[in-house]
């Protein structure tokens, strides 16, 4: 299928989703609502530099693993006084252009399966709507604390199980050279012949559209619940659909673009985006995302899984510290009130550590691989010289 045959219906589908959507607030699952009150903080030089640095580090992680670099940004913005709804909206508005630049970069490296990304992006946008409906139902039944507790448990259960498996798989394949064989589950699912069958050329696989839909829906559901759909999207593409970690993480950027664009439009319509914050974050993240994308051409494929698995597990651990606040509110526990803000601060710093660790692994591996590059070239020239002589 030619690219224009994919892009035109995909763009039409995005426009249709924009018209139909009741309000996908992807990042927290909150309904899109205009923020009443003073939206804008006074920007100091410290705040501007802080946003630039967080954007840069987050961008690098996103460029490398496809997503997961932005989850620290909402709490980071709130920590400098940005109201929650403005922070969520501004974070999302920076995510989709960053994903676009990252996707273009990785497309040039031949890693993006555009058709796979767009197919999942559309079903993920529907998943977001379902996720918001579930959130609203829980909020209606058990209030704000119940909703927050649901989000925290989703964090713990999904990140520990999926992240744990990704990490285990990375560990298993650490000594493996060359492209990894597709997982058995994906191979079995590829044999199910329920029309319409879809061929994904870059990913090098053929699978029923009905298998791709649940992966997209789950990605959107997670995006609406914990803000990072890629923690399901990338493993889903790897273990359910059968794409390599390189193609999965690159195509996730396309999904992030589609979901982010739809969500940002909703937030822009109610006027919650603080463009100054978005542009300061973008100043760092547009460079970071390209460095992260570049890193994928230097490292072994299993490192994408190592970074993703590590971040998922540490983030799950950090979320554990936020749970007593909500169980207290529901009357399930009686943790001392003075301890709650301390636990929240610990949770935030552990989350920031996860991001910094991810960036450090990426940079460290890239520098190591770049140092080997001249040496490899020298060895090749030497061996050629010997052969000629």
């Amino acid at each position: 299928m030619s690219r224009s045959k994919i892009i035109t219906p995909a763009l039409l589908a995005i426009v249709l989703l924009l018209l139909l959507s009741a309000g996908p607030a992807l990042a927290t699952g909150e309904a899109v609502a205009a923020f009443k009150g003073n939206k804008f903080i006074e920007l100091s030089v410290f705040n501007a530099v802080f946003l630039f640095i967080v954007g840069f580090i987050g961008g690098m992680v996103s460029g490398f693993i496809g997503s997961g670099g932005a989850f620290v940004l909402t709490p980071a913005m709130m920590s400098i006084g940005v109201p929650g709804l403005v922070a969520v909206a501004s974070n999302m508005c920076h995510k989709f252009p960053k994903a676009l630049v990252g996707a273009i970069k990785r497309h040039k490296y031949g890693q993006v399966d555009l058709k796979l990304g767009l197919t999942l992006g559309i079903s993920a946008s529907i998943g977001v709507e379902i996720g918001i409906k579930i959130q609203k139902y829980i909020q209606h039944m058990w209030g704000e604390a119940g909703s927050n507790l649901y989000v925290s448990f989703a964090f713990l259960v999904i990140l520990i199980t999926v992240g744990g498996y990704v990490f285990y798989d990375a560990w298993k394949s650490k000594n493996h050279t060359g492209p990894a064989a597709p997982p058995r589950l994906a191979l079995a699912l590829q044999k199910i012949n329920i029309p319409p069958m879809m061929t994904f050329k870059t990913a090098g696989l053929r699978i029923s559209m009905w298998i791709t839909i649940p992966v997209g829906l789950a990605t959107g559901l997670l995006a609406a619940t914990i803000a990072v759909g890629g923690f399901i999207g990338v493993p889903g593409m790897m273990y359910v659909i059968g794409a390599s970690s390189l193609v999965a993480s690159a195509s996730e950027l396309v999904i992030a673009f589609v979901m982010g664009f739809v969500g940002s439009t909703e937030w822009a319509l109610v006027g919650n985006i603080d463009i100054r914050l978005v542009l300061l974050i973008l100043a760092g993240s547009l460079a970071g995302v390209q460095i992260g994308a570049l890193g994928t051409t230097y490292v072994k494929e299993h490192l994408i899984k190592v970074v993703m698995g590590s971040i998922m597990l540490i983030v799950a651990f950090s979320r554990g510290f936020a749970i007593p606040k909500y169980t207290n509110q529901l009357g399930l526990t009686h943790v001392a009130k003075g301890l709650i803000p301390v636990l929240n601060t610990i949770s935030f710093y552990i989350m920031a550590f996860a991001l910094i660790l991810g960036a450090a692994i990426i940079l460290g591996s890239m520098i190591k691989a770049m140092r080997h590059k001249p040496a490899e070239a020298y060895e090749k020239v030497s061996s050629l010289e010997k052969a000629v002589n």
Binding site: K105, T265, A268, V270, R276, A287, L294
Partner: protein, 80 residues
């Protein structure tokens, strides 16, 4: 980038310089008119097009500047 600019016959430093200047001018324009920009861009409704269009423009300009800068620093993709 997989296909560095040098291959296309363009001077990579020129690209970084040009996009860098435009990017800087845009950032200066936004932050010298901070109050007007932050409020107009957050009016909602039809004004929603402003933040969305702005991020597209900045991604193109600043993204290309970052790309050119990376090339100048020798950060190019490994050929596999």
């Amino acid at each position: 980038m997989a296909k560095p600019n040098a291959k296309k016959g363009k001077k990579p430093y020129l690209k970084a310089l040009l996009f860098g200047i435009v990017s800087l001018v845009l950032y200066v324009l936004v932050f010298t008119n901070e109050q007007f920009v932050r409020e107009t861009w957050a009016k909602g409704g039809v004004y929603a097009v402003l933040p969305l269009a702005t991020v597209f423009v900045f991604s193109f300009i600043h993204g290309n500047f970052a790309d050119g800068l990376m090339y100048l620093f020798g950060l190019t993709a490994k050929k596999k």
